[in-house]
Amino acid sequence: MSFVTGVGLTSYGKHEGSSSLDLMSKAAELAIADAGLKRADIDGVLCGYSTVSPHIMLATVFAEHFGIRPSYAHAVQVGGATGLAMTMLAHHLVEANVVRHVLVVAGENRLTGQSRDASILALAQVGHPHYEVPLGPTIPAYYGLVASRYMHEYGVTQEDLAEFAVLMRSHALAHPGAQFHDPITVADVMASKPVALPLKLLDCCPVSDGGAAFVISRERTGETGVRVRGCAQAHTHQHVTAAPALSELGAEIAIARAKQAAGVAISDVRYAAVYDSFSITLAMLLEDLGLAGRGEAASRVRSGYFSRDGAMPLNTHGGLLSYGHCGVGGAMAHLVETHLQMTGRAANRQVRDASVALLHGDGGVLSSHVSMFLERVR
């Protein structure tokens, strides 16, 4: 058994003058305090990567900087799925009695530490170095390709996709730490600058500075326990050129495995935290995971199904699209928000019932997937 015993999250946006290590340290301190632990209690460290400050041994760089001497430490790299992949590994490490308390941490000054061009260029390198990158694609273009095909096969429109950006923004308005605080409409999304059509600027998550951390422990440290009920991964390809058909993508494989591992059905889920690097990512993943029928996710957004007071509240902090995306930490904010919801600490964003949550992360171009169920135990 394993529990998420503490969470820490900085605001996302600009942290002028903060390094990646600064942001990691800030989030780590918050998470350890939230778990009611001391630094010395942490015996395992898993961290992500920083495109601004790449290092072959980031976990030990962080541990030295933070002032801890763990008995287990290394970095993990699975793109946007890294946060949940680290959580899955931490879950198995504490279950296997390798360590008691694993600190999972990531942070990056991706917005102020380098130019936007440098960020876009660094991320585009997930493409094939010989057969894709020379064509000048960007991450939005990889997802733009997927979007064009998804729209073609399932009759989804650009206006449908815009609904997801509007929903995430409306959720971000209730979170003081979110990068964006101005409401947007479908018309605003449609009128925003073309980036990689059919994706426009407001269909895309921003580049942000920020940090996020959690502690995964063998036993709960607070009254309310947030237990990792089960999780699973799937990796079908790296490059979009080599991706399988839309009906055979990894999200469906990962969720099927996770449901089996957890003994949980989608009908048990009360709160959803789903990767949303682009509007299309969220639309596809919701349908792949079974949280909406094929081509029906947008109409569920319109009917309020995924709203804070809806049947399946989704990314109530605003997601990558509007809370922000600082790299590995980006999707870790989804888990932090889920934890706050499950422990009744989400203040003005609190949903009625977050007793069972489904989290899903995606790395690359729908390449790597991690599905996870969390359950509240009292």
């Binding site: 020379p134 064509l135 939005p140 390709l145 979007a147 979009v240």
Partner: protein, 120 residues
């Protein structure tokens, strides 16, 4: 169309050609060059030159580029094409291409290199 056990030159090395590999054991086709078949592991897949004919699978018109070399070309249309031979490839194409269009490849300069470019 030529066949070879040796590596054939293609656009990734500046030659006006699209090359793929075919496994002599299981028949699997692969576009990304390797010294083995990614499906069955058999060594030395046969190199073949593709006809350049295919069908558009997906498109994305890039309007925001990240380098000075690519920025001079915007907007440019990135396409995935399912070739008649049976493998999928990324290329450039006319801006008005739609999914399902039958297309033929030529080669066009882009950011100091030669890239496959599809049109109806």
């Amino acid at each position: 169309m030529s066949e070879s056990k040796q590596a054939l030159a293609d656009w990734t090395a500046g030659t006006e050609a699209i090359v793929y590999q075919s496994c002599g054991v299981c028949g699997n086709l692969q576009y990304f060059r390797r010294s083995f078949c990614s499906a069955c592991g058999a060594p030395d897949p046969v190199e073949k030159r593709a006809s350049g004919e295919g069908t558009v699978y997906a498109t994305s018109l890039v309007c925001r580029a990240a380098t000075p070399e690519t920025r001079v070309h915007i907007p440019y249309n990135i396409v995935l094409v399912d070739t008649t031979e049976g493998f999928r490839m990324m290329a450039h194409g006319d801006h008005d291409l739609a999914i399902g269009d039958k297309v033929t490849a030529r080669f066009a300069p882009f950011a100091g290199r030669l890239v496959p470019y599809f049109a109806r």
